[in-house]
Symmetry: D2
Subunit: 315 residues, 4 copies
Amino acid sequence: MPEHERLRGIFTPNIVPLDNCGEIHEPELRRYVDWLIDRGVHWLYPNGSTGEFTRFTAEERRRIIEIIADQTEGRVPILAGAAEANTRETIRACEYYCELGVRAVAIVSPFYYKLSPEGVFAYFKEIADHSPVDVTLYNIPMFASPIDVPTVRRLAEQCPRVVAIKDSSGDLPHMMRMISEVRASRPDFSFLTGWDAALMPMLLIGCDGGTNATSGVVPEITRKLYDLTLAGQIDQARDLQYRLLRLFDVMLYSAEFPEGFRAALRLRGIQTGAGRQPKSPSQQLQLDALARQVQCLLAEEGFTDEPVGGCPTLL
Amino acid sequence: MPEHERLRGIFTPNIVPLDNCGEIHEPELRRYVDWLIDRGVHWLYPNGSTGEFTRFTAEERRRIIEIIADQTEGRVPILAGAAEANTRETIRACEYYCELGVRAVAIVSPFYYKLSPEGVFAYFKEIADHSPVDVTLYNIPMFASPIDVPTVRRLAEQCPRVVAIKDSSGDLPHMMRMISEVRASRPDFSFLTGWDAALMPMLLIGCDGGTNATSGVVPEITRKLYDLTLAGQIDQARDLQYRLLRLFDVMLYSAEFPEGFRAALRLRGIQTGAGRQPKSPSQQLQLDALARQVQCLLAEEGFTDEPVGGCPTLL
Amino acid sequence: MPEHERLRGIFTPNIVPLDNCGEIHEPELRRYVDWLIDRGVHWLYPNGSTGEFTRFTAEERRRIIEIIADQTEGRVPILAGAAEANTRETIRACEYYCELGVRAVAIVSPFYYKLSPEGVFAYFKEIADHSPVDVTLYNIPMFASPIDVPTVRRLAEQCPRVVAIKDSSGDLPHMMRMISEVRASRPDFSFLTGWDAALMPMLLIGCDGGTNATSGVVPEITRKLYDLTLAGQIDQARDLQYRLLRLFDVMLYSAEFPEGFRAALRLRGIQTGAGRQPKSPSQQLQLDALARQVQCLLAEEGFTDEPVGGCPTLL
Amino acid sequence: MPEHERLRGIFTPNIVPLDNCGEIHEPELRRYVDWLIDRGVHWLYPNGSTGEFTRFTAEERRRIIEIIADQTEGRVPILAGAAEANTRETIRACEYYCELGVRAVAIVSPFYYKLSPEGVFAYFKEIADHSPVDVTLYNIPMFASPIDVPTVRRLAEQCPRVVAIKDSSGDLPHMMRMISEVRASRPDFSFLTGWDAALMPMLLIGCDGGTNATSGVVPEITRKLYDLTLAGQIDQARDLQYRLLRLFDVMLYSAEFPEGFRAALRLRGIQTGAGRQPKSPSQQLQLDALARQVQCLLAEEGFTDEPVGGCPTLL
């Protein structure tokens, strides 16, 4: 078994700024990387779901990692999303990202086709056996084939390269079941939650950190929530978790994912550009309303001014 | 708005012991009531899902409350499941249980037909407007029409009689959303979790207690978990929550609900009798295997001896 | 194996008219029975989902069968819904309905608790082994535990009393799979579809009939669709199926089930009374709009006048 | 509105043969194209789900269409799957496939992210407004964002380029609802079913054809089923549909899709090679058992010999 520290902390799945032509906006992406590191995120996590990895070409996904690795210059470690069309292409991406110096890769469970647990196991086993860099499993059952508890256990037991799981199900007992099954035999294995709405309780029951889309927008809050929880300041942490939940819900449920996060990031001064998924006129109106609502929440936290016309008084 | 204390603590949804003819075993039910109270549960909660209310006749459901109210003699308050075939019958049950002295009734959301939020609202509104006793909403989306957050809020605002919700979804952010929406305007409103697997984190984010099937089998553990969590002893509470989860999972997932709980209760010395749902030979074999597994877990906790032949060594 | 004719034809799941006090309106129920028989339905099917069996008390369910058996006087056979709180109560209902002269009973799969296939099998086996009257399985997976294909096969093989299945899933290949598995060894076994939207294609792939809620409202159409399909007049049948679908969809999806059917039945001159499920003001408004829409569809078919103000011209 | 014939017939979604290195086996793909055309399929449909479009790179997807267009030489029209990472890439693929002479492209609804109906509409609208070739919508709700009936109607009304929908839900009333909403205003719009299990009833209620994975393995049967149904020979068509269902179910449910189809195709003499999704040893054993079972079914139809050791006698 490998001897290493568990992956820990706040992992930020970054949105990729686009220019007016819809191409990767490299200078703004570099500026955004600095902005995030300055605000205390522990890791960068490009090519995640928030990063819309499926909407970029294979070449663009590589370019994103190149830019981020270059700009980060080792200030924080990188967890690079590396899933490609099939295991061979994915392993090639792992090799390339390894050369670029990333600390680990994250591989989402197979999607489109819904695979059985046995198929999910075979997929990750093949990749883990050939990857030159540590692998984080990525379970997001609303989008991809679920990775069930026995499969996590088998992979943890048979694949030293697999060092963590990122779980975006938000199901707390499910997380506890995974920790129960794996931690004793793999004390180096990390458990990360991708569900910002439950970050505090997830940390309290034993998670090592979070891969949280909110940390790309309000890194100050997500990081502080992490610190307060680890310091055992439960009352303050709970209060902050409730405020983060409100922000998370507005950004997540009022628009197609991740448009709400993109709109909010714009309010923080990052020139995100428009996303690649077309929007109908009524969707654009919804998004404007959402931006206003987010601005009020950000203003409450002191990150922006209130929108013109002011904000409703809270209950 | 009514001025009263929030409902708090561990609410035990009791199984109903049956005799050899399949009838309610009154002496054993009385003995079980004493056994539970002696072990520290704060409330009794008859005619819940664990109590298999749907498998008894309307007359039997009334008889169960009569026996429990009589035996309890006010030592602990009673939350009585009161759902009947339609609102008129339900209101009559509320009236009768009120006369018997129960502190509140619990009404499960309409089941069989899946109602819209508007239908769920109209149903509870009608009952709350006519019940002479406080009403707890009971949300169990795997079995009954879901009660969504806006509906909880509307009912809390319009119905002073509605004083609590029991939520068995196990969804922690959902619980936080309900608390967010209701607590400010109804500080007397209680939030109870019916998902034993998440009791500790649910309490930590603001729940007032739990209606937990495990508390009918190992009341000592569920109660201790509650006390440790409220005392802020997070590390010990977490450890106990993991042990309770193991027991809960075996009892819940290895047999048709609530057969696993019934089998476990037998190991604690309560003569539960057989349930009313027929079992095939292969189901009976499964149940025997489950009982053995539960006995090992109970033996670890010091509640029983190990089964003949011993138990596997844990990891 | 029993030698008997397969159950065939259109089975009408009747709504139960209620009086102003919400009690069973016996004279109107009797009039409705005659009305249905006069319009050509082959069977009556009281205490089904359309008949809201769960919203009546056990006593009322018996009374409904008494009235219908008495009024029918053998003009058409009766399939009586007989599910009660547990197998013992259900078997007693089977015995009573047998005495009343029903041709068969229909037993819905266990609901509220979601049982495994093994549990579903054990439940029906117990009932079939003790029922003095033929049993129809009732599969309605949106409301009750699903009855899967292997379970239907096991029950058909082991229980001569089980003579049919009513399937309301609307899943055509599922119906074909059941027929494939059972017909060779049980040529006397009937397959009935409860999904009016697919009646014609279901008959064409081998179903013996339908238990169709629309036949309680427009018995003329449902019966004619059955006759045209059996006569091989595919083009006319298809046209009628499309018209029935439009009516079915409006009644099913524009209100809580079965309120749309009740509203439509009122337009046919049956005094249904209000249902037992409370309605909010906004639900009442929706229902009024639905009634208007249904009236236009009924007027097109020549069953009623157009509503005051007329109907929109169809595309 | 464009004046053209509706797309009709059997569309074959072809598997792509791979060589020992896992690369596209061009000579075998060419031989397979001829084999299919010789056996009477009306259309070829490369880069569908059966063709595992997601497991090839963007370059490989283009190469597949090049080979098939070249080999087909206009003997049958081509429907080319053209979905790429985003709308811009997809439109470029449409342009290229247009140059290659395909009759239409098929675009699967957005997957991974689950989009709202509004998002699905905006996506297809953008593509349809810029594609130089006719577009078929592809609805496969088990894998991708569902395309609901109002969205199909809006697209049919606003986009003359959208000329058909391929629906793989297998939901017959859903197909009827789409036909109801669209056919009157767009008589040139085609409805194709991707659910082989219901091909005959789908044709009987008005579908124009099928995109059926079985037609890549037993084109003789799928084509004959189409012909019999259109000729009104219902009894023979029904019999064949039941036999096709048996084959379809074995290939679909006994292995990860499309491994069962690949294994069966090998039995027909096409050198498919192994798929790109890794298989565990237990999956390989399952696949061997499936191949044996398929061989028995193919032998019954006269396409192969029975496997060594013979086949079980059917009921």
